[in-house]
């Protein structure tokens, strides 16, 4: 028996010091300002929506993992908050419960829980309700209406399985001038009106609960990137490639295509690039792969927005990127140290 024991271990040899619950908890913290802003902007309905979706996700996670309590890893909470932020503030609560259940049950638990899900669970939930309830998910309410802290939007408490009531009359009573009921992206697509960058940055536009203030989302993302809870390359690749694509289109036809800044700040691109594309379970792990993945999402987002039937393309672009992740990982394996350059592993 020698004194010096040789220990054989497989890679990886270094640990960043962050455990999964630590990272997830910090992501939740960084999402709280966005939630707060959303509630300040849309009032009680947004609060009820966020709480309902998060509670549904947590309950589903608990229900489907009876043998192990997986609530402690905070991932279900992230899914719930993110899903709530991508829905319109006046979304009926019973549909929100459907979305939350689908997100966790079909998006995550069915594949074996955290880390095994091929698609971002929050986006799976949103894609399902987008396909199931296309009208409700494109019904928008004005931001900063006067009574937002004293009354709910009438659609919030729609009876289960029933159609939400028409809110055109209710919106008129709110005394909001010239409310078009359309997001900046829809107004650009159908009326060729682009919103100003100032409005988009500060969030005084009509949109989903959490995708309004681009500036706030950027700051929260910066916190995560600085503390290394997030791969900064993914948002940079997504936003950069989206801006470049938009710029190329604008060079080709400035009268028809909007400025790159509008493309970056409008819709869900900011929150999608920072919070959803960076989901660790569904994005590539190799350094080169991460760039490819981000560029695919950025370019696809712009292409879907410009040429697709829907006004917003971030959701499908990210789901497509998720689907390509295993392939990207396989083709971007780094060369193993000590093996030949031309030799394929």
């Amino acid at each position: 028996m020698s004194k010096h024991r040789i220990e054989l271990r497989a890679a990886p040899h270094q640990h960043s010091g962050h455990s999964v619950p630590t990272i997830m908890r910090n992501v939740v913290y960084s999402l709280l300002p966005i939630c707060g802003f959303s509630v300040w902007q849309y009032g009680l309905s947004a609060l009820a929506l966020l709480l309902t979706v998060t509670a549904t996700c947590l309950a589903t996670e608990r229900l489907l993992n009876r043998n192990a309590n997986t609530l402690g890893d905070w991932s279900a909470a992230i899914t719930g908050i993110l899903l709530g932020l991508t829905l319109p503030p006046a979304f009926p609560l019973w549909m929100a419960i459907v979305a939350g259940f689908v997100a966790i049950a079909i998006g995550k638990a069915m594949f074996g829980g955290l880390g095994h899900n091929p698609f971002n669970p929050a986006l799976v939930g949103r894609a399902f309700v987008q396909a199931a309830f296309p009208v409700a998910i494109t019904t928008w309410v004005p931001a900063f209406s006067a009574n937002r802290f004293s009354e709910f939007v009438p659609t919030t408490f729609t009876a289960p399985l029933m159609m939400p009531p028409d809110i055109v009359g209710w919106v008129k009573q709110q005394g909001v001038d010239a409310f078009t009921g359309a997001t900046p992206l829809a107004r650009w697509k159908f009326e060729n009106v682009t919103a100003s960058a100032h409005d988009l940055l500060t969030g005084t536009v009509t949109a989903s609960a959490g995708e309004t203030s681009a500036l706030l989302i950027l700051m929260c993302g910066a916190y995560l990137a600085i503390r290394k809870f997030m791969d900064w390359r993914i948002p940079v690749a997504v936003l950069g490639s989206a801006a470049l694509t938009a710029w190329a289109f604008q060079l080709y036809d400035p009268a028809h295509y909007p400025a790159p800044l509008f493309v970056l700040l409008s819709g869900g691109l900011m929150i999608g690039a920072i919070y959803m594309a960076t989901d660790m379970a569904t994005s590539p792990v190799t350094p080169v792969g991460v760039w490819i993945y981000g560029v695919i999402i950025g370019v696809m987002t712009v292409i879907i927005r410009y040429f697709g039937g829907l006004t917003e393309g971030v959701m499908y672009a990210i789901l497509l990127g998720n689907a390509l992740t295993p392939l990207i990982d396989q083709y971007t394996q780094p060369r193993v140290y000590g093996t030949g350059r031309k030799e394929k592993p």
Partner: protein
């Protein structure tokens, strides 16, 4: 001519129940997915498709069983297909004569009964080796099992996708239809949910 081993175990209750439950074509064997996913947007369509398949299945199995000792082994598949195609053509014309709207709703899937795996599978695996009565009883069970499977999918999709069952409104006029349920993805979702339920029940009964 072509001596085949007769597996003569007589007709038991299991000959019939095999297709209804233990070897259900939709939920256990997962056969005939093309009509299962495509025509189950409503309960009426699903039941019509099930009955059409049931008729073709029983008639083909009877005929295959009757001529099982006359057909040379080398050409048996072609023979089965000709028999099945004959009955499918019959069903095709009958449905067209009875209800044109149903015929248009089911579309090409009536003709596609020809290539339904359940029918060819039963003809090859059961009817060609068993006497006519047993083959018919077994085919009847399979056909009923298939119809139950289609009905389960069709009813779920019609209730969620239109708020109706067999055309009767269940929730009043303010019902919010789940558009996805009448689209092709809805078929996959509902089928997946039913398969999940069935394998859950089977694994439970296996452990008990």
């Amino acid at each position: 001519m072509n001596p085949k081993k007769e597996i003569d175990e007589g007709i038991t209750f299991d000959t019939f129940m095999e297709g209804v439950w233990r070897q259900n074509p939709v939920f256990v064997m997962v056969l005939g997915m093309c009509p299962t996913l495509a025509v189950t947007v409503s309960a009426v369509n699903a039941v019509s498709m099930g009955i059409a398949t049931l008729f073709v299945l029983v008639s083909s199995c009877l005929l295959v069983s009757l001529i099982r000792n006359l057909v040379p082994k080398e050409v048996r598949i072609a023979t089965y297909i000709v028999i099945i195609a004959t009955f499918v053509t019959l069903v095709d014309y009958i449905i067209q004569a009875v209800s044109l709207s149903l015929y248009e709703a089911l579309g090409a899937f009536i003709q596609l009964i020809v290539v339904n795996c359940i029918i060819l599978g039963r003809a090859e695996a059961h009817a060609s080796k068993n006497p006519p009565l047993k083959a018919v009883v077994n085919a009847l069970g399979m056909g009923i099992g298939f119809t139950i499977g289609l009905l389960a999918l069709g009813a779920t999709r019609e209730i969620l996708g239109a708020g109706k069952l067999f055309g009767f409104s269940l929730f009043g006029e303010h019902f919010q239809p789940w558009v996805v349920m009448v689209l092709p993805p809805g078929g996959f979702f509902v089928l997946g949910a039913w398969l999940l339920l069935f394998s859950f029940m089977r694994s439970r009964s296996a452990t008990e």
